[in-house]
């Protein structure tokens, strides 16, 4: 009996209950036409008009130089350029950006709302002259409208702005600053190729505070090469002392194609005993390596470049995980254990200082959540403009070209109506379910089981809970009731989901910090459930007939 109920075709649960139509988020505002017989199991869901997009991400790609860990689409202007008024690369780009904004279709013109959040990301948006930022905002206002109290965030890097520029930005409407501090140690900043030092960090913090920005964030990177526990503790302490309303704690991710990527690759080659034949670009990297840790590198053997290229493209991920796994200590990269410690330390210290750990890498004082980022996590639509940016309009996730020339082509095509960055509103059910799970489990609010069930059926919720059962027991996954209170009653988990899901377990979230730390594993597990979910109702039906 039990099996049978759990295999009930998902669309059968779509009884015309009025309660079921009250849905919270975009993903929940899906419906299934009642006239459709329950055969349409694996057809894509019809998303009935999600709310129109009211958020915009603006990519301002300019940096003085590229940081060693960075694989974002950026344009490096050169270390000296803090004055960018007259740089044609910047002004031309801003022109194209404004043209893109103007040429973009308004999402659901009938019910459109003015923009409620705008986020200037980069790159280093604070390098762009305020006048140009102003023209971007003006384009947005003309095209989409801009709420009076819209959250307008800007990523700013120490050393790229002073009080005057800050005040100009505020005057334009920028009311949230995300300060790219990354670390409070000179040697770490240098080691990861930042264009600023600790002095600039302190100056920037005082500028932001003195200019009266109330909603601001310090961004930090954990697990940098050579970062010690003491350094990390110091960074967290100094951050807390600066009293920002928000802290983002990111993890260093070694990406292919970055300087760090090449660096680790070379070390790996050496470890594997490959012979290295030094070519010029590699020499540069090696010089850099030597700066990091001379003793490991002065005797690098020889390897042909084609071999390196081959290795780089084929096995990069393996190599990085191998490094972490097999040679802790030999490389300046913190071990998995140490890295996990860093994460826990951040969680503990920031929570103790009254910051809420409201998303895997985000902390804030009460009420200072980043509204723009929440749009992402709630799977709601948003516009995006500029080089390499990704938008989500009309159910379509659209990524713009990452190279300037390609981007210009794209804008021209957009103007000529040859491309459309928004979708027709149709989303594949499975894709959407995966996005919802992936994004919501990153937050402390967790996954809303009720609306998830209303959108995707009860069988998938039941299988998901079943799959998570061992992790609820081991404390990685937390069940919460209607009021987001943790359900401590772990005695009868099976009872909770088998008969009483709606009443008892209303939300599930990943625990902080252990569950968050293993979020990839747990989310991938949920993906597996969703992946096999569609087959179940069909299977049941085939058996019945």
């Amino acid at each position: 009996m039990l099996l049978k109920s759990s295999f009930t075709p998902i669309f059968l649960v779509q009884t015309p209950k009025s309660k079921a139509q009250k849905l919270h988020h975009a993903f929940t505002k899906t419906f299934f036409t009642n006239s459709t017989p329950p055969v349409r199991h694996n057809a894509s869901l019809n998303v009935a008009t999600p709310p129109p997009a009211s958020s915009a991400y603006i990519h301002l790609p300019f940096c003085r130089k590229r940081c060693h860990y960075c694989d974002f689409p950026i344009v490096a202007l050169g270390s000296a350029s803090t004055q960018t008024h007259h740089d044609p690369r910047v002004s031309n780009y801003i022109d194209w950006l404004c043209r893109e904004i103007t040429a973009t279709k308004v999402d659901q013109p009938a019910s459109t709302t003015p923009l409620q959040t705008v986020y200037f990301g980069g790159g280093t948006p604070s390098l762009v002259p305020p006048a140009m930022v102003s023209s971007v905002l003006e384009s947005l206002r003309v095209k989409f409208g801009l709420c009076k109290d819209a959250e307008i965030s800007m990523e700013m890097d120490p050393g790229t702005f002073g009080a005057e520029k800050m005040r100009k930005m505020i005057a334009l409407g920028v009311n949230r600053v995300s300060l790219g501090v990354q670390a409070f140690q000179e040697e770490l900043l240098r080691a990861c190729g930042r264009a600023h030092g600790v002095q600039e960090v302190h100056e920037a913090i005082s500028v932001v505070k003195s200019c009266g920005v109330e909603n601001w964030s310090i961004d930090l990177i954990a697990s940098l090469p050579h970062q010690s526990c003491e350094m990390w503790e110091e960074s967290l302490r100094l951050t807390i002392e600066s009293q920002p309303s928000h802290v983002s704690v990111y993890d260093l991710q070694i990406e292919q194609g970055t300087k760090f990527g090449r660096f680790y690759f070379l070390l790996h080659c050496r470890q594997q005993g490959f012979k290295l034949q030094l070519q010029l670009p590699l020499c540069n990297d090696l010089l850099y390596c030597e700066k990091l840790r001379t003793d490991t590198l002065y005797k690098l053997p020889f390897l042909t470049v084609s071999r390196i290229a081959m290795k780089l493209s084929l096995q990069f991920e393996t190599l990085i995980s191998d490094l972490a796994e097999y040679s802790p200590g030999e490389f300046p990269m913190p071990s998995e254990t140490q890295s996990a410690e860093f994460y826990k330390m951040a969680s503990r210290m920031l929570t103790d200082a009254n910051y809420n750990h409201y998303e895997i890498s985000s902390y804030c004082k009460s009420g200072y959540e980043c509204k723009h980022n929440f749009i992402y996590w709630k799977n709601e639509p948003f516009y995006a403009f500029g080089l390499g940016s990704a938008s989500f309009v009309g159910g379509l996730r659209y990524s713009r070209p990452r190279k300037v020339n390609d981007y210009i082509n794209f804008v021209q095509n957009l103007e000529n109506g040859l491309v459309d960055s928004s979708g027709d509103g149709n989303i594949n059910a499975k894709d959407m379910a995966m996005d919802v799970v992936m994004l919501s489990l990153r937050t402390a609010q967790g996954l809303d089981l009720k609306s998830f069930q209303e959108s995707f059926g009860s069988s998938v919720v039941l299988s998901l809970l079943e799959a998570y059962k061992p992790y609820v027991e081991s404390g990685l996954v937390v069940c919460m009731d209607e009021h987001r209170r943790t359900i401590m009653d772990d005695l009868n988990y099976s009872f909770l989901y088998k008969t009483n899901t709606e009443k008892r377990v209303a939300y599930i979230r990943l625990s902080d910090p252990e569950g968050f730390l293993l979020s990839n594993e747990l989310i991938a597990l949920a993906f597996g459930v969703i992946d096999s979910w569609k087959a179940c109702p069909q299977y049941q039906e085939a058996k019945a007939t």
């Binding site: 940016s389 992936m438 597996g528």
Partner: protein
């Protein structure tokens, strides 16, 4: 899997895999040393079935086999240690008799092979018929009469002989052999094994010392070895170089003069020995037969003694070297019959075939094929069972010597338990599955068939360790394991390490003697299980490659055997269970758990790997829980990228096999094969 993996490497390099595969179970594991240049030769000799479909441009005058009474027929084969030049010699003989054209044939044959491979036609022919004019001493043909033409059947004895079963079947149709020995290397293990097989079959042995053109050739030493080992008269040995052609002219006269004509009476009722069979997509089953008595004509009704089934001889002919219809086969001759059998399973090798409605005494036949190595085959992706099933069915059509039964494993799902004649056979089978049918398989650790006797007197043959209960209700009172008699020939300086190795493998010395001043000949009884995995590799490595090794099946011996279970977080993994000798259980248990520790990834919980005998834990390893796997990078709104990373992770999980909550990568099963 020492020599196997080595052998398979050779296979992979080979462009002629399809060809090779059909041969391989005639090869000894030792054939891992076969190199590519050997194949062209084989090709000419044996790969020619497909030619029957080619435009038969060079239509020969019909061969009238009636002109060849048994007195003018000689059936012989060439036996040798691997690389001693058997194939080249065979090739030269075919050229010498005009059976294949020197220089001409080669490229053509290459093309044929391509076609063969595409059609998936089996290339298993083993016999080539040659015609050779020769005047026997004493006969008077000088007065203007031509010398009589002899019909010579060169019957391929498969390289050595993984399995005595396979060799005996080739030798059964012969009255004599050419024993080829490399003039520089001298007598090797396979030479010995081959000699005894021929000797025990009462065959005439013509020693041929080959490769005398080599600078290091020492024919006198080899002659001395032949004398001391086999009591062969040094004066009988023929000195040749198949490469330069030197001495070749003596060979066929020696064959005709020394090897007796086949016995048998033409006037008796037909009796044929079924030597081999293979499946041809167009003609159906093609049987190779040796006519012992009587005459077979096209259109005859024939019956199988084994199955009682009747057939019609639709086509009858000889391999010359391609299938050449003659319409008739007479006493003493060797040829083929197409009889409308649908599967090779109907064609039981060693069967007696006779004219329907006559009664004959059945021929002794052969020992039935003994499956000595068993392993489980599972689809790597559990949902591919049907595809694997299909592939196995197709493949066994051409290789009836594999035994297949379905089995289920909790870890691996639905699969098959397959019995093989030997390790190389198993390896080739796997490889054909993968390469010809694209099946991605997981193979469990090969095991040998053990016999267990319980306190209630019942006996069970165990082909799958998992089928033996870990805590049986009935006490095990005795167990038996199969053994082999191994022949090892080594330079004397390696005696010490080799004896150490063999005694580690529970070997029991049967014989120890010097072939000459530098070389030692040893015979050991070894448990088959001990050589299944990496024995040959070990042997090679401790003797710098100088050891030659061969083995033949022997009796079962009583042994102290235990079932070794592998447990993951307390759950036994049936596909990893093994049966080992009690004295080795601790070491193997430790090796297995250590190996598993390196191949199983960390998971969100601690994983305890245990090896256990019954309820007693003998080895334990722990994989600590994963600490951190999180994407805490600033990806902004780039949800797609994030998702791709996670989906990749999900796909990785999907490919894993699961026991309890522990995910086991496929790699783990492959790795276990490497632990002895």
């Amino acid at each position: 899997m020492g020599y196997l993996s080595k052998a398979s490497k050779t296979l992979r390099q080979s462009n002629y895999l399809a060809l090779l595969c059909n041969f391989n179970f005639y090869f000894n594991p030792l054939t891992s040393r076969i190199t590519n240049e050997r194949f062209p030769v084989r090709r000419e000799l044996f790969c020619s079935q497909s030619r029957q479909y080619s435009t038969t441009t060079r239509e020969k005058s019909t061969i009238d086999l009636r002109q060849y009474p048994p007195e003018l027929v000689r059936n012989f084969s060439i036996i040798a240690h691997v690389d001693h030049g058997k194939s080249t010699l065979a090739d030269r003989l075919l050229e010498l008799t005009g059976t294949i054209k020197k220089g001409h044939g080669q490229p053509q044959y290459l093309d044929k092979l391509q076609v063969e491979r595409e059609r998936g036609i089996t290339v298993k022919a083993q016999t080539a018929t040659m015609f050779y004019k020769h005047s026997v001493n004493g006969d008077d043909f000088s007065d203007g009469k031509e010398s009589p033409s002899f019909l010579l059947n060169l019957i391929d004895t498969p390289g050595h002989v993984d399995f005595s079963y396979e060799v005996s079947r080739s030798l059964a149709a012969c009255q004599g052999v050419l024993l080829v020995v490399d003039a520089a290397q001298g007598v090797q293990a396979q030479t010995v094994a081959n000699f005894y097989l021929a000797f025990e079959s009462n065959l005439t042995i013509v020693p041929v010392i080959n490769k005398i053109d080599q600078p290091t050739a020492d024919p006198d030493r080899v002659k001395a070895q032949l004398k001391s080992m086999f009591d062969l008269d040094p004066n009988d040995a023929l000195l040749t170089s198949a490469k330069t052609g030197e001495g070749l002219e003596q060979i066929l006269p020696a064959v005709i003069e020394r090897i007796p004509a086949p016995p048998g009476r033409r006037e008796s009722s037909l009796r044929m020995l079924l030597l081999d069979s293979y499946y041809d997509e167009y003609k159906g089953v093609i049987c190779h037969v040796a006519v012992v008595d009587g005459v077979l004509s096209k259109g005859d009704k024939i019956s199988s003694a084994a199955t009682g089934q009747s057939y019609e001889a639709l086509d009858v002919g000889i391999m010359h070297p391609e299938l050449t219809p003659t319409g008739i086969l007479l006493t003493g001759q060797v040829g083929y019959v197409v009889s409308g059998m649908r599967t090779t399973k109907e064609a039981r090798v060693g069967d007696t075939i006779y004219h329907t409605r006559t009664s004959v005494e059945t021929l002794p036949g052969f020992k039935p094929a003994k499956h000595m190595v068993f392993s489980g085959l599972y689809p790597a992706d559990g949902s591919d069972f049907e595809a694997l099933n299909h592939a196995i069915e197709r493949l066994t059509c051409n290789d009836a010597s594999v035994s297949i039964t379905k089995e289920t494993s909790t870890a691996l799902g639905l699969g098959f338990r397959c019995g093989f004649l030997g390790l190389l056979h198993m390896d080739v089978f796997h490889q054909r599955l993968e390469q010809e049918y694209g099946a991605n398989v997981i193979s469990t650790v090969p095991t040998v068939p053990y016999t267990f006797e319980f306190s209630d007197g019942s006996k069970v043959e165990v082909q799958n360790p998992a089928s033996l209960p870990s805590n049986p209700k009935q006490k095990v009172t005795a167990c038996w394991e199969p053994t082999v008699i191994a022949t090892i020939i080594i330079p004397s300086e390696y005696v010490g390490p080799v004896i150490t190795l063999v005694s580690e493998r529970r070997g029991q010395q049967l014989e120890y003697s010097f072939i000459d001043s530098q070389r030692v000949f040893m015979k050991y009884r070894l448990p088959l299980r001990e050589i299944v995995v990496d024995f040959y590799n070990e042997l090679k490595s401790i003797t710098s490659g100088y050891a030659s090794f061969d083995y033949e099946d022997s009796d079962y011996q009583q042994a102290d055997l235990v079932k070794l279970d592998i447990l993951l977080n307390g759950q036994p993994v049936d596909a990893m269970a093994t049966i080992v000798h009690n004295t080795k259980a601790y070491r193997v248990g430790r090796e297995l758990t250590e190996k598993l520790k390196t191949v199983i990834d960390r998971q969100m919980f601690e994983i305890i790997i245990q090896a256990a005998i019954g309820s007693k834990i003998i080895a334990r390893e722990t994989i600590s829980a994963m600490r951190k796997n999180v994407l805490a990078k600033c990806y902004g709104g780039d949800v797609t990228r994030k998702r791709k990373l996670l989906e990749k992770q999900k796909e990785g999980k999907k490919r894993m096999k699961r026991v309890g909550s522990v995910d086991i990568p496929q790699e783990a099963f492959h790795q276990l094969l490497k632990v002895s």
